[in-house]
Protein backbone atom coordinates (compact mmCIF):
# COMPACT_ATOMS: atom_id res chain seq x y z
CA UNK A 1 0.00 0.00 0.00
CA UNK A 2 1.06 3.52 -0.60
CA UNK A 3 1.69 5.97 2.11
CA UNK A 4 -0.57 9.00 2.52
CA UNK A 5 -3.08 9.01 -0.23
CA UNK A 6 -5.05 12.13 -0.71
CA UNK A 7 -8.73 12.07 0.15
CA UNK A 8 -9.82 12.10 -3.51
CA UNK A 9 -7.82 9.06 -4.37
CA UNK A 10 -9.11 7.20 -1.36
CA UNK A 11 -12.76 7.73 -2.18
CA UNK A 12 -12.07 6.64 -5.75
CA UNK A 13 -10.29 3.58 -4.47
CA UNK A 14 -13.29 2.85 -2.31
CA UNK A 15 -15.21 2.38 -5.53
CA UNK A 16 -18.54 3.29 -4.00
CA UNK A 17 -20.86 6.14 -4.84
CA UNK A 18 -19.38 9.40 -3.59
CA UNK A 19 -20.83 10.28 -0.23
CA UNK A 20 -20.67 13.65 1.41
CA UNK A 21 -17.78 14.25 3.75
CA UNK A 22 -18.61 14.13 7.46
CA UNK A 23 -15.20 14.81 8.87
CA UNK A 24 -12.12 16.30 7.33
CA UNK A 25 -8.60 16.10 8.64
CA UNK A 26 -5.92 18.17 6.83
CA UNK A 27 -2.27 18.44 7.90
CA UNK A 28 -3.36 17.60 11.42
CA UNK A 29 -0.49 17.45 13.90
CA UNK A 30 -0.51 17.19 17.65
CA UNK A 31 2.16 18.25 20.12
CA UNK A 32 1.83 16.99 23.66
CA UNK A 33 3.82 18.42 26.52
CA UNK A 34 6.48 16.27 28.10
CA UNK A 35 9.34 16.96 30.46
CA UNK A 36 11.64 17.65 27.53
CA UNK A 37 9.21 20.17 26.07
CA UNK A 38 6.47 19.58 23.50
CA UNK A 39 6.76 16.32 21.60
CA UNK A 40 5.08 15.72 18.27
CA UNK A 41 2.72 12.77 18.62
CA UNK A 42 0.89 13.01 15.32
CA UNK A 43 2.37 14.54 12.21
CA UNK A 44 0.52 15.69 9.14
CA UNK A 45 -2.52 13.44 9.20
CA UNK A 46 -4.81 13.66 6.17
CA UNK A 47 -8.06 11.79 5.65
CA UNK A 48 -11.82 12.18 5.32
CA UNK A 49 -14.64 10.34 6.97
CA UNK A 50 -17.70 10.05 4.77
CA UNK A 51 -21.28 10.28 6.00
CA UNK A 52 -22.31 6.92 7.34
CA UNK A 53 -18.91 5.36 6.90
CA UNK A 54 -17.38 2.98 9.43
CA UNK A 55 -13.65 3.60 9.67
CA UNK A 56 -11.32 1.64 11.91
CA UNK A 57 -8.13 3.28 13.14
CA UNK A 58 -5.53 0.63 13.80
CA UNK A 59 -2.01 0.73 15.13
CA UNK A 60 0.34 -0.62 17.74
CA UNK A 61 -0.11 0.54 21.27
CA UNK A 62 1.35 3.99 21.75
CA UNK A 63 0.98 4.79 18.06
CA UNK A 64 -1.30 7.76 18.69
CA UNK A 65 -4.63 6.19 17.71
CA UNK A 66 -6.43 7.49 20.76
CA UNK A 67 -4.89 10.94 20.39
CA UNK A 68 -6.11 11.13 16.81
CA UNK A 69 -9.62 10.15 17.89
CA UNK A 70 -9.53 12.71 20.69
CA UNK A 71 -8.59 15.38 18.15
CA UNK A 72 -11.68 14.47 16.10
CA UNK A 73 -13.75 14.60 19.29
CA UNK A 74 -12.44 18.03 20.24
CA UNK A 75 -10.87 16.70 23.43
CA UNK A 76 -7.29 17.40 22.31
CA UNK A 77 -6.24 20.52 20.43
CA UNK A 78 -4.10 19.98 17.32
CA UNK A 79 -1.41 22.44 16.24
CA UNK A 80 -2.70 25.78 14.89
CA UNK A 81 -1.96 24.94 11.26
CA UNK A 82 -4.09 21.78 11.43
CA UNK A 83 -7.50 21.84 9.80
CA UNK A 84 -10.05 19.51 11.36
CA UNK A 85 -13.74 19.87 10.59
CA UNK A 86 -16.82 17.89 11.51
CA UNK A 87 -20.01 18.40 9.50
CA UNK A 88 -18.43 21.40 7.85
CA UNK A 89 -17.54 23.25 11.05
CA UNK A 90 -14.02 23.50 12.44
CA UNK A 91 -13.53 21.37 15.53
CA UNK A 92 -12.95 23.57 18.57
CA UNK A 93 -14.14 21.63 21.56
CA UNK A 94 -16.44 18.63 21.15
CA UNK A 95 -18.47 19.03 17.93
CA UNK A 96 -22.26 19.01 17.92
CA UNK A 97 -23.96 15.73 17.00
CA UNK A 98 -20.78 13.78 17.72
CA UNK A 99 -20.33 11.65 20.82
CA UNK A 100 -17.17 10.06 22.14
CA UNK A 101 -17.39 6.55 23.59
CA UNK A 102 -14.62 5.90 26.10
CA UNK A 103 -12.63 2.73 26.57
CA UNK A 104 -12.92 2.84 30.34
CA UNK A 105 -16.66 2.35 30.76
CA UNK A 106 -16.41 1.96 34.53
CA UNK A 107 -14.86 5.41 34.90
CA UNK A 108 -17.22 6.96 32.36
CA UNK A 109 -20.48 5.96 34.01
CA UNK A 110 -21.68 7.74 37.14
CA UNK A 111 -21.80 5.14 39.92
CA UNK A 112 -24.34 7.19 41.89
CA UNK A 113 -26.84 7.20 39.04
CA UNK A 114 -29.02 4.33 37.84
CA UNK A 115 -28.62 3.01 34.32
CA UNK A 116 -31.66 5.07 33.29
CA UNK A 117 -30.26 8.26 34.78
CA UNK A 118 -26.83 7.63 33.31
CA UNK A 119 -28.40 7.50 29.87
CA UNK A 120 -30.33 10.67 30.71
CA UNK A 121 -27.18 12.66 31.49
CA UNK A 122 -26.70 14.30 28.10
CA UNK A 123 -30.40 15.01 27.57
CA UNK A 124 -31.32 16.68 30.83
CA UNK A 125 -32.53 20.21 30.31
CA UNK A 126 -32.01 19.95 26.57
CA UNK A 127 -35.14 18.11 25.42
CA UNK A 128 -38.68 17.96 26.87
CA UNK A 129 -39.17 15.34 29.57
CA UNK A 130 -41.42 13.16 27.41
CA UNK A 131 -38.89 13.16 24.57
CA UNK A 132 -36.13 12.40 27.05
CA UNK A 133 -37.98 9.39 28.44
CA UNK A 134 -38.79 8.09 24.98
CA UNK A 135 -35.21 8.40 23.83
CA UNK A 136 -33.85 6.71 26.94
CA UNK A 137 -36.10 3.70 26.62
CA UNK A 138 -35.43 3.55 22.89
CA UNK A 139 -31.67 3.56 23.27
CA UNK A 140 -31.78 1.13 26.18
CA UNK A 141 -33.89 -1.16 24.01
CA UNK A 142 -31.35 -0.85 21.21
CA UNK A 143 -28.63 -2.25 23.44
CA UNK A 144 -31.02 -4.72 25.09
CA UNK A 145 -30.90 -3.29 28.61
CA UNK A 146 -34.50 -2.10 29.18
CA UNK A 147 -34.83 -4.54 32.04
CA UNK A 148 -31.84 -3.12 33.88
CA UNK A 149 -32.85 0.56 33.79
CA UNK A 150 -33.29 0.78 37.56
CA UNK A 151 -29.99 -0.92 38.40
CA UNK A 152 -26.75 0.82 39.24
CA UNK A 153 -23.73 0.37 36.95
CA UNK A 154 -21.80 -1.65 39.52
CA UNK A 155 -24.56 -4.25 39.47
CA UNK A 156 -23.86 -4.90 35.77
CA UNK A 157 -21.18 -6.89 34.01
CA UNK A 158 -18.45 -5.10 32.06
CA UNK A 159 -20.12 -5.74 28.72
CA UNK A 160 -23.42 -4.40 30.02
CA UNK A 161 -21.72 -1.29 31.38
CA UNK A 162 -20.19 -0.59 28.01
CA UNK A 163 -23.66 -1.04 26.47
CA UNK A 164 -24.96 1.57 28.92
CA UNK A 165 -22.32 3.98 27.68
CA UNK A 166 -23.29 3.19 24.10
CA UNK A 167 -26.96 3.78 24.97
CA UNK A 168 -26.04 7.10 26.58
CA UNK A 169 -24.31 8.11 23.36
CA UNK A 170 -27.15 6.90 21.13
CA UNK A 171 -29.70 8.83 23.20
CA UNK A 172 -28.01 12.00 21.94
CA UNK A 173 -28.97 10.93 18.38
CA UNK A 174 -25.42 11.50 17.15
CA UNK A 175 -24.47 11.70 13.49
CA UNK A 176 -20.96 10.73 14.46
CA UNK A 177 -19.64 8.23 16.99
CA UNK A 178 -16.01 8.20 18.04
CA UNK A 179 -15.23 4.95 19.79
CA UNK A 180 -11.95 4.48 21.62
CA UNK A 181 -11.22 0.75 21.93
CA UNK A 182 -14.70 0.31 23.36
CA UNK A 183 -14.49 -3.48 23.50
CA UNK A 184 -10.80 -3.67 24.36
CA UNK A 185 -11.20 -4.98 27.88
CA UNK A 186 -14.04 -7.42 27.26
CA UNK A 187 -13.88 -11.19 26.84
CA UNK A 188 -14.16 -12.70 23.36
CA UNK A 189 -17.81 -13.79 23.62
CA UNK A 190 -19.01 -10.44 24.93
CA UNK A 191 -16.90 -8.68 22.35
CA UNK A 192 -18.49 -10.61 19.48
CA UNK A 193 -22.00 -9.89 20.65
CA UNK A 194 -21.25 -6.20 21.11
CA UNK A 195 -19.72 -6.09 17.61
CA UNK A 196 -22.98 -7.49 16.24
CA UNK A 197 -24.95 -4.95 18.20
CA UNK A 198 -22.76 -2.10 17.02
CA UNK A 199 -23.18 -3.28 13.44
CA UNK A 200 -26.95 -3.09 13.85
CA UNK A 201 -26.71 0.35 15.41
CA UNK A 202 -24.61 1.49 12.49
CA UNK A 203 -27.15 0.09 10.05
CA UNK A 204 -30.15 1.65 11.78
CA UNK A 205 -28.74 5.06 12.58
CA UNK A 206 -26.48 5.55 9.58
CA UNK A 207 -24.04 7.32 11.87
CA UNK A 208 -20.46 7.96 10.83
CA UNK A 209 -18.25 5.86 13.08
CA UNK A 210 -14.54 6.12 13.77
CA UNK A 211 -13.43 3.15 15.80
CA UNK A 212 -10.00 2.82 17.38
CA UNK A 213 -8.84 -0.72 18.01
CA UNK A 214 -5.72 -2.85 18.14
CA UNK A 215 -7.65 -5.97 17.16
CA UNK A 216 -7.11 -6.72 13.46
CA UNK A 217 -10.08 -9.10 13.18
CA UNK A 218 -12.34 -6.56 14.79
CA UNK A 219 -11.18 -3.82 12.43
CA UNK A 220 -11.75 -5.95 9.32
CA UNK A 221 -15.06 -7.35 10.56
CA UNK A 222 -16.64 -3.99 11.38
CA UNK A 223 -15.26 -1.38 9.05
CA UNK A 224 -15.55 -0.03 5.53
CA UNK A 225 -12.01 1.25 5.63
CA UNK A 226 -8.98 0.79 7.84
CA UNK A 227 -6.41 3.48 8.59
CA UNK A 228 -3.13 2.13 9.93
CA UNK A 229 -1.16 4.60 12.03
CA UNK A 230 2.57 4.30 12.39
CA UNK A 231 5.78 6.21 12.84
CA UNK A 232 7.02 8.79 15.27
CA UNK A 233 5.37 11.22 14.94
CA UNK A 234 2.59 8.98 13.69
CA UNK A 235 1.10 9.35 10.25
CA UNK A 236 -1.36 7.27 8.29
CA UNK A 237 0.95 4.62 6.92
CA UNK A 238 -1.70 2.58 5.15
CA UNK A 239 -5.25 2.94 4.08
CA UNK A 240 -7.07 -0.30 3.34
CA UNK A 241 -10.62 -0.41 1.96
CA UNK A 242 -12.76 -3.27 3.27
CA UNK A 243 -15.38 -4.38 0.78
CA UNK A 244 -17.03 -7.25 2.56
CA UNK A 245 -20.79 -7.68 2.04
CA UNK A 246 -23.08 -6.45 4.82
CA UNK A 247 -24.65 -7.48 7.09
CA UNK A 248 -21.63 -9.33 8.34
CA UNK A 249 -21.80 -12.54 10.30
CA UNK A 250 -19.38 -13.62 13.00
CA UNK A 251 -18.89 -17.02 11.36
CA UNK A 252 -19.77 -16.72 7.67
CA UNK A 253 -18.00 -13.42 7.08
CA UNK A 254 -14.91 -14.53 8.91
CA UNK A 255 -14.70 -17.62 6.67
CA UNK A 256 -14.78 -15.62 3.44
CA UNK A 257 -11.51 -15.75 1.47
CA UNK A 258 -11.73 -11.96 1.16
CA UNK A 259 -11.85 -11.63 4.96
CA UNK A 260 -8.77 -13.79 5.31
CA UNK A 261 -6.98 -11.88 2.57
CA UNK A 262 -7.75 -8.54 4.23
CA UNK A 263 -6.71 -9.87 7.62
CA UNK A 264 -3.40 -10.87 6.14
CA UNK A 265 -2.99 -7.56 4.34
CA UNK A 266 -3.64 -5.57 7.51
CA UNK A 267 -1.36 -7.79 9.52
CA UNK A 268 1.45 -7.38 6.99
CA UNK A 269 0.88 -3.63 6.97
CA UNK A 270 1.30 -3.43 10.72
CA UNK A 271 4.30 -5.75 10.90
CA UNK A 272 5.99 -4.00 7.99
CA UNK A 273 5.53 -0.55 9.48
CA UNK A 274 6.80 -1.80 12.77
CA UNK A 275 10.28 -2.69 11.55
Amino acid sequence: MTVERSADVSSAALGTQPRSVACQCRNASVDLGSRAGPRRILGDINFDLHEGEFVAILGRSGSGKTTLLRVLGGLVDPTPESVVTFHGRPVAGPPQDVVFVFQNYAASLLPWRTVHNNVALGLEGKVPVAVKRARISESLATVGLEARAADYPWQLSGGMQQRVQLARSLAMRPRGLLMDEPFGSLDAMTKASLQDQLQQVHQHTGATIAFVTHDIDEAVFLSDRILVLDGSPATIAHEIPVELPRPRDQLATKELPEFLRLRRQVYDAIVETGD
Binding site: P94, W112, K126
Partner: protein, 262 residues
Amino acid sequence: MTSATAVLRRTNVLGVATMLLLLGAWELLIRVGLLDFQNLPAPSAVAARAQQLLASGELMTNLLHTLRVTLLGWVLASVIGIGLGLVLGLWRPAWRWSMASFELLRAVPPISLVPLALLVFGFSVRTELTLIVYASAWPVLVNTIEGVRTVRPELRDVARTLHLSRRETLLKLTLPAAMPSIVVGLQLGLSLALVLAVVAELVGNPSGLGNALILAQLALRPEEMFAYVFTIGLLGIALNAAFRQIVAWTLTSAKPLPGKVS
Protein backbone atom coordinates in the same frame (compact mmCIF):
# COMPACT_ATOMS: atom_id res chain seq x y z
CA MET B 1 -38.95 -9.09 63.58
CA THR B 2 -39.81 -6.68 66.37
CA SER B 3 -37.81 -3.51 66.77
CA ALA B 4 -36.54 -4.66 70.16
CA THR B 5 -34.85 -7.72 68.71
CA ALA B 6 -33.56 -5.62 65.83
CA VAL B 7 -31.86 -3.27 68.28
CA LEU B 8 -30.51 -6.24 70.18
CA ARG B 9 -29.06 -7.65 66.98
CA ARG B 10 -27.25 -4.46 66.15
CA THR B 11 -25.90 -4.05 69.65
CA ASN B 12 -22.40 -5.26 70.32
CA VAL B 13 -23.32 -7.40 73.34
CA LEU B 14 -19.75 -8.42 74.14
CA GLY B 15 -18.56 -4.84 73.91
CA VAL B 16 -21.24 -3.65 76.31
CA ALA B 17 -20.41 -6.51 78.67
CA THR B 18 -16.74 -5.52 78.72
CA MET B 19 -17.67 -1.96 79.50
CA LEU B 20 -19.92 -2.99 82.38
CA LEU B 21 -17.19 -5.29 83.67
CA LEU B 22 -14.64 -2.46 83.71
CA LEU B 23 -17.07 -0.17 85.53
CA GLY B 24 -17.76 -2.99 88.01
CA ALA B 25 -14.02 -3.48 88.59
CA TRP B 26 -13.60 0.26 89.17
CA GLU B 27 -16.46 0.26 91.70
CA LEU B 28 -15.05 -2.82 93.44
CA LEU B 29 -11.47 -1.49 93.66
CA ILE B 30 -12.68 1.67 95.32
CA ARG B 31 -15.01 -0.17 97.76
CA VAL B 32 -12.29 -2.54 98.93
CA GLY B 33 -9.89 0.40 99.20
CA LEU B 34 -7.33 -0.76 96.66
CA LEU B 35 -7.85 2.43 94.70
CA ASP B 36 -7.49 5.20 97.22
CA PHE B 37 -7.21 8.69 95.83
CA GLN B 38 -8.72 11.63 97.61
CA ASN B 39 -10.70 12.78 94.61
CA LEU B 40 -11.47 9.60 92.69
CA PRO B 41 -15.14 8.78 93.14
CA ALA B 42 -16.79 5.41 92.59
CA PRO B 43 -19.00 5.01 89.49
CA SER B 44 -22.04 4.74 91.75
CA ALA B 45 -21.29 8.15 93.23
CA VAL B 46 -20.85 9.59 89.75
CA ALA B 47 -24.17 8.12 88.65
CA ALA B 48 -25.92 9.53 91.70
CA ARG B 49 -24.52 12.99 91.04
CA ALA B 50 -25.44 12.77 87.36
CA GLN B 51 -29.01 11.97 88.36
CA GLN B 52 -29.14 15.05 90.57
CA LEU B 53 -27.75 17.23 87.78
CA LEU B 54 -30.33 15.82 85.39
CA ALA B 55 -33.16 16.40 87.83
CA SER B 56 -32.14 20.01 88.45
CA GLY B 57 -31.95 20.66 84.71
CA GLU B 58 -28.41 21.94 85.09
CA LEU B 59 -26.90 19.20 82.95
CA MET B 60 -29.47 19.67 80.20
CA THR B 61 -28.89 23.43 80.03
CA ASN B 62 -25.15 22.98 79.69
CA LEU B 63 -25.53 20.11 77.25
CA LEU B 64 -27.88 22.09 75.03
CA HIS B 65 -25.53 25.06 74.98
CA THR B 66 -22.56 22.95 73.90
CA LEU B 67 -24.67 21.04 71.38
CA ARG B 68 -26.04 24.23 69.82
CA VAL B 69 -22.67 25.95 69.54
CA THR B 70 -21.00 22.82 68.20
CA LEU B 71 -23.63 22.34 65.50
CA LEU B 72 -23.82 26.00 64.54
CA GLY B 73 -20.04 26.28 64.33
CA TRP B 74 -19.80 23.06 62.37
CA VAL B 75 -22.44 24.12 59.85
CA LEU B 76 -20.71 27.47 59.30
CA ALA B 77 -17.36 25.72 58.99
CA SER B 78 -18.82 23.26 56.48
CA VAL B 79 -20.27 25.99 54.30
CA ILE B 80 -16.99 27.89 54.34
CA GLY B 81 -14.89 24.75 53.89
CA ILE B 82 -16.89 23.40 50.95
CA GLY B 83 -17.24 26.78 49.26
CA LEU B 84 -13.59 27.69 49.60
CA GLY B 85 -12.55 24.13 48.80
CA LEU B 86 -14.43 24.23 45.49
CA VAL B 87 -12.81 27.51 44.50
CA LEU B 88 -9.33 26.34 45.47
CA GLY B 89 -9.77 22.88 44.03
CA LEU B 90 -11.22 23.95 40.70
CA TRP B 91 -9.53 27.25 40.03
CA ARG B 92 -5.78 26.89 39.69
CA PRO B 93 -4.77 30.56 40.13
CA ALA B 94 -6.57 30.73 43.48
CA TRP B 95 -4.64 27.69 44.60
CA ARG B 96 -1.30 29.12 43.52
CA TRP B 97 -1.89 32.43 45.27
CA SER B 98 -3.05 31.03 48.54
CA MET B 99 -1.25 27.72 48.91
CA ALA B 100 1.68 29.12 50.90
CA SER B 101 -0.56 30.95 53.35
CA PHE B 102 -2.74 27.88 53.81
CA GLU B 103 0.18 25.58 54.45
CA LEU B 104 1.46 27.97 57.12
CA LEU B 105 -1.93 28.39 58.82
CA ARG B 106 -2.55 24.68 58.71
CA ALA B 107 0.64 24.02 60.62
CA VAL B 108 -0.66 26.06 63.57
CA PRO B 109 -2.63 23.82 65.97
CA PRO B 110 -6.03 25.55 66.42
CA ILE B 111 -5.79 25.19 70.19
CA SER B 112 -2.78 27.51 70.24
CA LEU B 113 -5.08 30.25 68.99
CA VAL B 114 -7.32 29.96 72.05
CA PRO B 115 -5.53 32.67 74.09
CA LEU B 116 -5.47 34.94 71.08
CA ALA B 117 -9.19 34.52 70.39
CA LEU B 118 -9.84 35.17 74.08
CA LEU B 119 -7.93 38.41 73.90
CA VAL B 120 -9.71 39.56 70.76
CA PHE B 121 -13.26 38.44 71.48
CA GLY B 122 -13.29 38.26 75.28
CA PHE B 123 -15.11 35.70 77.43
CA SER B 124 -18.02 35.19 75.07
CA VAL B 125 -19.79 32.79 72.79
CA ARG B 126 -18.09 34.60 69.92
CA THR B 127 -14.73 33.29 71.09
CA GLU B 128 -16.18 29.81 71.20
CA LEU B 129 -17.82 30.00 67.77
CA THR B 130 -14.77 31.52 66.12
CA LEU B 131 -12.53 28.78 67.42
CA ILE B 132 -14.95 26.04 66.38
CA VAL B 133 -15.43 27.44 62.88
CA TYR B 134 -11.72 27.96 62.38
CA ALA B 135 -10.70 24.50 63.54
CA SER B 136 -13.40 22.44 61.88
CA ALA B 137 -13.28 24.27 58.56
CA TRP B 138 -9.82 22.81 57.90
CA PRO B 139 -10.66 19.17 57.38
CA VAL B 140 -13.70 20.13 55.29
CA LEU B 141 -11.58 22.46 53.17
CA VAL B 142 -8.72 20.03 52.69
CA ASN B 143 -10.99 17.11 51.85
CA THR B 144 -13.10 19.17 49.47
CA ILE B 145 -10.00 20.28 47.58
CA GLU B 146 -8.74 16.70 47.52
CA GLY B 147 -12.16 15.44 46.41
CA VAL B 148 -12.60 17.74 43.44
CA ARG B 149 -8.95 17.42 42.44
CA THR B 150 -9.09 13.66 42.24
CA VAL B 151 -12.25 13.46 40.14
CA ARG B 152 -11.31 11.08 37.36
CA PRO B 153 -10.37 12.90 34.15
CA GLU B 154 -12.68 10.57 32.23
CA LEU B 155 -15.65 12.24 33.89
CA ARG B 156 -14.54 15.64 32.63
CA ASP B 157 -14.28 14.22 29.11
CA VAL B 158 -17.74 12.69 29.50
CA ALA B 159 -19.11 16.10 30.48
CA ARG B 160 -17.46 17.70 27.48
CA THR B 161 -18.56 15.17 24.88
CA LEU B 162 -22.16 15.31 26.20
CA HIS B 163 -22.01 19.12 26.09
CA LEU B 164 -22.76 19.71 29.75
CA SER B 165 -22.43 23.31 30.89
CA ARG B 166 -19.89 24.23 33.56
CA ARG B 167 -22.66 24.47 36.12
CA GLU B 168 -24.06 21.05 35.17
CA THR B 169 -20.58 19.54 35.28
CA LEU B 170 -20.06 20.90 38.78
CA LEU B 171 -23.45 19.85 40.14
CA LYS B 172 -23.89 16.54 38.35
CA LEU B 173 -20.34 15.20 38.10
CA THR B 174 -17.72 16.97 40.17
CA LEU B 175 -19.65 17.42 43.42
CA PRO B 176 -21.14 13.92 43.58
CA ALA B 177 -17.79 12.42 42.63
CA ALA B 178 -16.09 14.42 45.38
CA MET B 179 -18.82 13.65 47.91
CA PRO B 180 -17.16 10.66 49.65
CA SER B 181 -14.10 12.79 50.35
CA ILE B 182 -16.21 15.76 51.47
CA VAL B 183 -18.20 13.51 53.81
CA VAL B 184 -14.96 12.37 55.46
CA GLY B 185 -14.02 16.03 55.94
CA LEU B 186 -17.42 16.84 57.43
CA GLN B 187 -17.13 13.99 59.88
CA LEU B 188 -13.64 15.02 61.02
CA GLY B 189 -14.88 18.59 61.29
CA LEU B 190 -17.75 17.55 63.54
CA SER B 191 -15.42 15.78 66.00
CA LEU B 192 -13.12 18.81 66.03
CA ALA B 193 -16.06 21.15 66.57
CA LEU B 194 -16.94 19.38 69.82
CA VAL B 195 -13.32 19.38 70.97
CA LEU B 196 -12.96 23.09 70.36
CA ALA B 197 -16.32 23.85 71.97
CA VAL B 198 -15.24 22.14 75.17
CA VAL B 199 -11.79 23.77 75.13
CA ALA B 200 -13.31 27.21 74.58
CA GLU B 201 -15.74 26.62 77.42
CA LEU B 202 -12.96 25.45 79.70
CA VAL B 203 -11.00 28.66 79.34
CA GLY B 204 -13.20 31.23 77.67
CA ASN B 205 -16.92 31.19 77.32
CA PRO B 206 -18.68 30.97 80.72
CA SER B 207 -21.32 28.40 79.76
CA GLY B 208 -21.71 24.86 78.47
CA LEU B 209 -20.30 21.49 79.50
CA GLY B 210 -16.67 22.64 79.53
CA ASN B 211 -17.46 25.51 81.84
CA ALA B 212 -19.49 23.22 84.13
CA LEU B 213 -16.49 20.93 84.26
CA ILE B 214 -14.22 23.77 85.42
CA LEU B 215 -16.77 24.99 87.98
CA ALA B 216 -17.04 21.47 89.38
CA GLN B 217 -13.27 21.32 89.66
CA LEU B 218 -13.10 24.63 91.49
CA ALA B 219 -15.84 23.43 93.83
CA LEU B 220 -13.91 20.19 94.44
CA ARG B 221 -16.72 17.95 93.23
CA PRO B 222 -15.02 15.08 91.40
CA GLU B 223 -18.25 13.09 90.98
CA GLU B 224 -19.71 16.07 89.13
CA MET B 225 -16.61 16.35 86.97
CA PHE B 226 -16.89 12.70 85.97
CA ALA B 227 -20.58 13.16 85.26
CA TYR B 228 -19.77 15.95 82.82
CA VAL B 229 -16.85 14.06 81.26
CA PHE B 230 -19.15 11.14 80.54
CA THR B 231 -21.76 13.52 79.16
CA ILE B 232 -19.23 15.00 76.76
CA GLY B 233 -18.24 11.50 75.67
CA LEU B 234 -21.84 10.50 75.09
CA LEU B 235 -22.47 13.72 73.15
CA GLY B 236 -19.53 12.89 70.88
CA ILE B 237 -20.87 9.40 70.25
CA ALA B 238 -24.37 10.71 69.58
CA LEU B 239 -23.16 13.38 67.15
CA ASN B 240 -21.10 10.88 65.23
CA ALA B 241 -23.93 8.36 65.08
CA ALA B 242 -26.41 11.01 63.96
CA PHE B 243 -24.02 12.14 61.25
CA ARG B 244 -23.56 8.60 59.96
CA GLN B 245 -27.30 8.01 59.94
CA ILE B 246 -27.97 11.20 57.98
CA VAL B 247 -25.28 10.30 55.47
CA ALA B 248 -26.76 6.83 55.08
CA TRP B 249 -30.21 8.29 54.44
CA THR B 250 -29.20 10.99 51.99
CA LEU B 251 -26.59 9.08 50.03
CA THR B 252 -28.40 5.77 49.60
CA SER B 253 -28.09 6.02 45.86
CA ALA B 254 -24.34 6.39 46.10
CA LYS B 255 -23.95 2.93 47.56
CA PRO B 256 -21.18 1.95 47.27
CA LEU B 257 -19.67 5.40 47.47
CA PRO B 258 -17.77 6.21 44.27
CA GLY B 259 -14.46 6.35 46.06
CA LYS B 260 -14.97 2.89 47.47
CA VAL B 261 -15.67 1.18 44.16
CA SER B 262 -12.15 0.37 43.16
